[in-house]
């Protein structure tokens, strides 16, 4: 009896300790959560669709890419493939943290992987390093606060985004290219980054002018990817990340 109460308290303590680590992530991601909601409406989403995407995909950059493509009337398979491509890095997080989560009951693991975002991955690696193990209560505390706020921000952004009268004056229509440029720059430490970006930029502009939208996305992306696959990188190139 006593030990049950003690262990319940310990679980709650772990949950709160995780949650405190989640708060800075909430603050940093809030503008993007709101922006996603506002832009999704701008690109033809309903508020429910914005909610659904934030709740089920739950990966900020890929959601932005998704609505950017929705706005361009791109083929559905290409939208899904692009979201998959942007999210592919999770495979590495998953492979890396899997060993810390594998002792949990299956349902906890299933939920845990859904919450595995970039910051959650970093927090989990640090937790494993400092404590030697990762508990479910701690992990859920850190992850759930970010998740709930992210979904709420998407809905709030969508509701208020549809009320913005002059989206052009506020630059709403051009925020995505700026954001995407920031993401592109974030990858600049990767091998062959500049030639890949140059190949994709040139190919996508040529395709945009000749074949037309939305094929410039596929053609431009394939140009960069094939270039990277064909041109041998240094053997000590950065690992997949």
């Amino acid at each position: 009896m006593t030990s049950e109460i003690v262990s319940e308290r310990a679980v709650a303590g772990e949950f709160w300790r995780g949650m405190r680590l989640g708060f800075p992530v909430v603050v940093a991601s809030a503008p993007f959560g709101l922006l996603f909601g506002a832009l999704s409406v701008e690109n033809g989403f309903t508020v429910f669709e914005a909610f659904l995407m934030s709740a089920t995909v739950y990966a900020g950059a890929s959601q932005m890419v998704g609505i950017g493509l929705f706005g361009q009337k791109v083929a559905p398979w290409l939208i899904v493939l692009s979201i998959l491509a942007v999210n592919f890095r999770h495979v590495l997080y998953s492979a890396a943290v899997g060993r810390h989560l594998s002792g949990w009951p299956l349902i906890q693991q299933a939920l845990g992987y859904h919450l595995l975002t970039d910051p959650q991955y970093v927090l989990t690696e640090r937790e494993a390093e400092e404590r030697g193990k990762v508990g479910f209560a701690w992990y859920l505390g850190a992850g759930i606060v970010v998740y709930v706020c992210w979904v709420a921000e998407g809905v709030i952004g969508a509701v208020f985004g549809s009320l913005i009268p002059d989206t052009h004056a506020l630059g709403i229509d051009f925020l995505l290219p700026i954001y995407f440029l920031g993401l592109v720059m974030g990858f600049r430490k990767r091998p062959l980054w500049l030639p890949v970006v140059a190949a994709s930029a040139v190919a996508s502009i040529i395709a945009y002018k000749t074949v037309g939208s939305p094929w410039h996305v596929t053609i431009g992306a394939m140009a960069g990817i094939l270039f990277a696959a064909i041109v041998p990188a240094k053997p000590d190139g950065e690992p997949l990340a």
Binding site: V57, V65, S94, P177, L181, L183, V184, S200
Partner: protein, 98 residues
Amino acid sequence: MSVNIWIILAAAVATYLTRVGGHLVISRFDRIHPRVEAGLNAVPAAVLTTLVAPEMINAGPAEWLAIVIALLVSLRFGLMPMFLVGAAVLIAARQFMA
């Protein structure tokens, strides 16, 4: 259900597979072929570039100014400062250059 909903759900499944897939699959392989790895490494930058470059063709001076300044900021600072400065320049430039 609308096409949008199906696309969102398919994207959700694809994303979830990346989150469990590493643990289920990749950890069983010793290594990925270097060319495949190089190609995968290039995917995000390649896809994202195609969403920026053609926009530059359609854009005007206000957008170019915002992009160039955001680019410069991104050389030193993270995504958030870069984005906020870019947005601020864009809004200001559209007020005064339109």
